[in-house]
Symmetry: C2
Subunit: 259 residues, 2 copies
DNA sequence: CGGCCAGTTGACCCCAATCAAGGATCGTGG
DNA sequence: CCACGATCCTTGATTGGGGTCAACTGGCCG
């Protein structure tokens, strides 16, 4: 099998996800960001989980649904999005392998946004019943999950800052650096290159600007030698300039157990 | 004692909060939005809680701090905000009586934003130790709190939509309607009039626009007969127009136990 | 080969920022 | 009681960032 960078970067292929590796990205992240106990992780890995594959652009959860399962992204990328009355759409968050994008439905029934696969994805589904039982049995697991949703909330807050205050030029770099830091945690950054499988239209929807303007920002970033984005892959050209533009302070990601 | 609308609307006075009423707004909200068990609420009310008063504009929590307590807003208004390198500030959320704005610090130590009193406030502080013990002892309390942080996150997501996609005219009305719905839950709306003790500068920081522009939007809303905002108090003039502008779909507030 | 969708660029326009100058309100001290 | 300074509100003039519209390119796939 030839080296396929898109596979290595976790963009595409979903067929080679084995039941062993479903939990791998989540566990990898939890181990570095929390003091997760091995027993808790083992208990998680013992949960019954149903694998399902989704195609690019397929909707995983629709606004208004009442799912009876929570999903774990084993491979691929998803986004949360909301569409308002006039048809304009906002992307709320980007989700990567190891993320649990609808844990909140354990506590309230209805999803209040869409969850859409950006790339071909492999998702694992665990029933609420099993999760609730495990949480009661193992408070440590409850803590892990609760914390996860809290970091998710912290990321949303930073997203508000990004959309509300930063210039679009800074905004895009901030978004990219955040994604890189999160991808790093699950081993999806190779050689300062990583996947960001959004079209320019979708990047615009994440930033609150049009695709036309996104295109111009990307051109500027390319011309200025900061980074290149081609076919869903980012390559950083000048780390120093990138940092300067993004003004990224990663504390809100709470990457270590004590922060 | 004369009728003081600012007091009735929960804007100002903090001196008359008794230890009986500290928990009242939180309990009122939990009772309508969740199926909170009375025993769980009683256990909460039995927690040792330290009352502290804050003046308008006083900082309650500073970005980077590591608090050892969580706070409950007994009376008054606070905001979360973040300031970026160039000095621009974004208000992330508005907090009202009954809110628990830093529950997240139970799970990660460092606050990643500021918490500032908008008006004179009475806050109750409960130590992390006591909260963690209670949560272990009573899973029902853990569920209440976890759910609370999840609704907080849902509100942040809607805030992203507001800042990213809605026209500023719609944006302000949406913000106002959301606040009204939340204030209604804790009995702080009287006669379609309620407190929103933000300066126009702060409203601008909440919406990602300047105070000058906020002023013009408010003028338009007044001229169009939609609503009036004077000295921190909103009066709705035309509910129909307001609804039309705000396009408010309150599902994300998850106001009933099953939603 | 042809259709389709993402990306690219130019021309034009409008919403909101910026800059600037007054006006209203309020707490404080003479 | 009035003078004051501070803060917030208000409005006009000007500028600029980003939206809109439109045309064209290029890669991919049936």
């Amino acid at each position: 099998m030839l080296f396929d960078p898109r596979r290595a970067l976790g963009r595409g292929g979903s067929s080679d996800v084995t039941s062993d590796s479903i939990w791998a990205p989540l566990f990898q992240r939890l181990k570095t960001t929390t003091g997760a106990a091995d027993q808790d992780l083992q208990a998680l890995a013992a949960l019954p989980i149903a694998l399902r594959n989704y195609r690019e652009n397929q909707t995983v959860l629709r606004d208004g649904e009442q799912p009876s399962e929570c999903c774990l992204i084993a491979d691929g990328f998803c986004v949360r999005s909301k569409t308002i009355a006039d048809g304009r759409r906002q992307i709320l968050s980007i989700h990567i392998p190891g993320d649990l994008p609808n844990l909140q439905n354990l506590h309230y029934g209805t999803v209040d946004h869409d969850l859409v696969a950006l790339s071909d994805c492999t998702l694992g589904f665990v029933g609420h019943r099993a999760l609730k039982d495990l949480i009661r049995e193992r408070p440590g697991v409850a803590d892990l999950f609760w914390r996860d949703t809290l970091v998710d909330a912290a990321i949303s807050r930073e997203w508000i800052v990004n959309v509300g205050q930063r210039s679009t030029y800074n905004r895009l770099t901030h978004l990219i650096v955040e994604l890189r830091e999160r991808l790093r945690l699950v081993g999806r950054v190779i050689d300062n290159t990583f996947a960001i499988p959004l079209t320019q239209e979708q990047l615009g929807e994440a930033m609150g600007v049009t695709s036309v303007h996104t295109n111009r920002i990307l051109r500027d970033l390319r011309v200025d030698g900061v980074l290149e984005l081609q076919r869903g892959t980012v390559r950083i050209l000048n780390e120093h300039k990138l940092q300067e533009l993004a003004q990224f302070d990663g504390r809100y990601l709470h990457l270590s157990p004590l922060s």
